[in-house]
Symmetry: C2
Subunit: 576 residues, 2 copies
């Protein structure tokens, strides 16, 4: 995978990952796929950290190749396990260590660091693999009757401890069987699926709709989060996810037309008419509850025509962050049709990206100088458009027109292609680098244009206050009113608790800045302690009232989800 | 206003309307504006009803010119009235008959028929005219403490008995003072207003933003319901309203960025960041509650650039309804940019419109024949596009391309201009015609493409089962998944109860057809008895839980709003 190194090459772990190992659980994405950094990137990292190659001479972290084994007894009574087996079939209830651990953690570095260090906690007693909506409904009815905590594992890419089984009990692993298409409606351009279907599987079926469903043409959902490869429709819906193409296709909130949930209060079905004035929007009341109200079973989604041939790629370099923001705002407010992918990098991210995509090896580097652009100030803007041919062209023409007006240097579609190439594979670098103690994670928030520069500066200041920290920021998922600020930070850290404290300090900074604490990662259990302060007490009480309505015994994703069931004393501990 | 008649002209009431009269309350729109039908239209009505001009020889209804007077004692204790005066000022609490009656009814024909016949019921004890958000909050706190029912009157165009003070108490008339701009944010393209601001006032300020706010350019909200002239921002938000340009600008749900409410549980504020993943969407939980959770005070709305110069008008004639629907669906699914106004009329509405706009007096009538179009089957499609010049042009080009493909006859922008001319003034015909017993009202629902033709046929069948009924239908407010079906019916009816039963039979038909019972009129108290059956019991229980949370004493718009507080027995009566 990695290019041959000219100088010293670290011993990137590229071996076979044992089937039942910790690494098989915590590694990013497809089991067989591994990505190591190119030499240029490694040198860039060393430069930024001001370190030599010594940490890369030997592994700083356990590779996690041991078999998963732990000593947490199953506390669920045998009759409950028998009852669950009666619902889904004997083979589809597991209580072995591997099955239990494999659904316990998500993909924040706090999870990975615990997994590498064999810190096993918050595993379920049993893992159940449902096949049908009726089975899920029967399971929810059963656990409600017996007050057994219930968790759901969709794609496993949560970065908020969303899936963690803090109170033990049962976890539904949706990946194995609850991943089918229920119905496809070409006339109404919508599809109904089981919540466990993975992003890639759904997208492949839609692209292939002619043969898969006998459709007249190919379709797309247009939802491509960076975690695409191991994310599920259910995960997107319950956390309010957004894909990298959301500026054109919308966030998941804009795509959901109907839902079914199994809750302790019974089954909830919403209808899939396009827009209603029949009281508060039930779809929106249910969505974003992160499993705290019940289990999402079926989802009806809006689909779009698949027209890859109309894509128009663009990339521009602006002289600085303020100019880039001003141009981005003008593009989003000019009503010429929204681009699909829309990403403006701050100077630090820009400098990493132009190294990564080899821009400084091209004649462009002379152009930067000629145009008076300073390497440590300039900002890369890239993306592409979608939609019908004329629409896509008009949107791209507007991007070009506005970028030119703001002094943007046209870098053609080249850099965008580099980004596209790595858009789903770059996260694989996390594991390879982390073996040597280089840790990479992300945070994000939603901001209005008028506060963009300030929030960026304030949060960045907190991140950079930690010595030797790479902090790359970009703006993406944009609107006429503002957009998402997304931080990727790289630090040298091997301790889970130390990471958690650093991570919390960033979240604190986001909250203090006045931004909304998440645009699309969600809250989970990790950000739960901050939510009430974010929304306000009266506002948070609305979520409490809904929780009490649906789940009075607190068995649906209990233990801190959305901060709904954290005692005040514990909250103060967590915020430390 | 009306053109000189060739033959007999009825004595259309065009006199001065006494200030404190019933008519001044029930008449549509601006006090001084009156519209009478042209001769052609009158003859068309007579033809359709199969009647001669005898009913037009004398008024069939009371003109409602008497002073409003009734004998319903004020039951609110003097100390409460004193307390309210202490909050808003002595002059801003009224208990006279006229003030009380003027906020009791909306604009469904059930309201108008009662008003014409001096049937006064459900008036508040006192009308309060708040000036500030703090006053509204103090009033809500006061009525909560003393369990006094509270109603809100915004623009008065409710067609669902939304404002009716079924339990007496206090009504807040927002028109007088609670109608100011709170703040204007050009960088973020949003505006914060008091909920009582009227549509025209807000739109005028936005169009005039350069002088009103010192802005760099002009703006628009893009929200133009037919009731525009006497509707308020608050009314739009609490009922999930949509404007005629919603296919481009979105429904009010898409425009609201932030809200403040005064509820018995305290003040609720949502933040105005563009998109959040911080639990279920609080804006959507509050919106559409029609005053049953609390009083909307401030609203922050997304605004757009005002670019009237980019508008492209279009009109086409399709050979029949099915072809028109197919073309409309293709336009909405082709991703070429949505038109703004988008209206496809069924054959009956088409025949009325081409008479109304004089199309049959033009050479076009020969073209219809030449193109093999039958007058009683053909369907008129009209609208226009908005947005940046290239975007608007591309959207119009797509409309033209698709219309041509489906055999549409290009009628240029001429017919669209006719529609635009009457878009806000046509409802004024209601009063003039009704003086002679010709009653006009509307119903609407949300449907998917696959059920459009069937729902249209089934509901139309029920409407047409009543002898001598004009039933005009159009599809508007469209999406890739479907749209709104909108019925305008004209009947000869002078009795309020008879009207109510007929109206209910249409709603029943809509519900039985499987459509969603409202796209943008809302539910109010008139449709409340149907809502639980529409949503389902478990689903309706969610709204009940929210109601109980916000308003445990049931003082916020009580007496049937959203069907939340109708005893089962009474419900059966209402459905009769």
């Amino acid at each position: 995978m990695s290019k041959p190194y000219k100088g010293f090459e670290p011993n990137w772990f590229q071996g076979k990952i044992p089937l039942n190992s910790y690494r098989s659980v915590f590694k990013w994405g497809a089991p067989e796929q591994i990505k190591a950094p190119k030499e240029k990137m490694l040198h860039d990292v060393m430069n930024r950290f001001g370190i030599d190659d010594s940490i890369f001479r030997e592994y700083q972290q356990d590779l996690g190749l041991d078999e998963v084994k732990f000593d947490i007894p199953v506390q669920l009574a045998p009759e409950h396990i028998a009852a669950l087996k009666a619902i889904v079939g004997d083979a589809f209830v597991r209580t072995d260590d591997y099955a239990r651990f494999s659904v316990a953690y998500g993909k924040t570095m706090y999870d990975i660091l615990r997994a590498r260090n064999k810190i096993v906690e918050n595993v379920p007693d049993a893992v159940v693999y449902p096949d049908t909506r009726e089975q899920v409904e029967a399971i929810v009815a059963y656990v409600s009757e017996h007050k057994i905590p219930l968790y759901v594992y969709g794609g496993g890419s949560s970065v908020t401890r969303g899936v963690e089984c803090v109170k033990g009990g049962v976890s539904l692993d949706m990946r194995l069987r609850f991943n089918k298409v229920v119905s496809f409606h070409e006339t109404d351009q919508m599809i109904t699926v089981e919540a466990g279907i993975s992003g890639p599987k759904l997208e492949e079926l839609l692209n292939d709709a002619v043969s898969a469903f006998g459709a007249k043409r190919a379709y797309t959902l247009g939802h491509f989060p960076q975690s695409f490869e191991h994310s599920s429709v259910g995960g997107w819906v319950v956390t309010h996810g957004s894909g990298q193409n959301s500026t054109y296709y919308g966030c998941i909130q804009d795509m959901v037309l109907g839902q079914s949930y199994a809750t302790p209060k019974g089954v909830i079905n919403t209808d899939s008419h396009p827009k209603k004035a029949t009281g508060p929007d039930l779809d929106q009341i249910m969505m974003g509850a992160e499993g705290a109200f019940g289990v999402l079973t079926h989802v009806t989604l809006k689909i779009c025509r698949h027209m890859p041939e109309t894509v128009k790629r663009f990339s521009y370099m602006f002289k600085d962050w303020e100019t880039g923001i001003a141009a981005a705002r003008e593009i989003m407010q000019s009503e010429a049709g929204n681009p699909s992918v829309f990403r403006l990098s701050d100077p630090e991210e820009t400098s990493v990206m132009i190294n990564m995509y080899g821009v400084m090896d091209t004649p462009l580097k002379h152009l930067f100088k000629a145009r008076g652009m300073e390497i440590d100030k300039m900002c890369l803007f890239l993306g592409f458009t979608n939609g019908e041919k004329g629409f896509s062209k008009n949107a791209a023409r507007n991007v070009a027109r506005v970028s030119k007006r703001y002094g943007g240097l046209n870098m053609t579609g080249y850099v965008c292609k580099g980004w596209e190439h790595g858009r789903f594979s770059d996260p694989y670098l996390r594991d390879t680098l982390q073996d040597f103690g280089v840790l990479m994670d992300t945070m994000e928030c939603s901001v209005n244009w008028s506060e963009m520069a300030r929030v960026h500066a304030e949060v960045r200041k907190v991140v950079k206050a930690r010595p030797n920290t790479v902090c790359m920021t970009h703006m993406s998922h944009v609107y006429p009113q503002g957009g998402n600020l997304y931080w990727i930070f790289i630090i040298l850290e091997n301790d889970a608790e130390a990471f958690r404290r650093f991570h919390a300090s960033i979240l604190d900074a986001i909250q203090k800045s006045g931004a909304s604490m998440s645009h699309h990662h969600g809250i989970g259990k990790m950000f739960g302690p901050w939510l009430e302060a974010q929304l306000g007490k009266n506002e948070f009480d609305i979520l409490r009232a809904l929780k009490n309505h649906f789940d009075p015994d607190n068995i649906m994703n209990p233990g801190g989800t959305l901060g709904l069931d954290i005692p005040e004393t514990e909250k103060r501990d967590l915020l430390k």
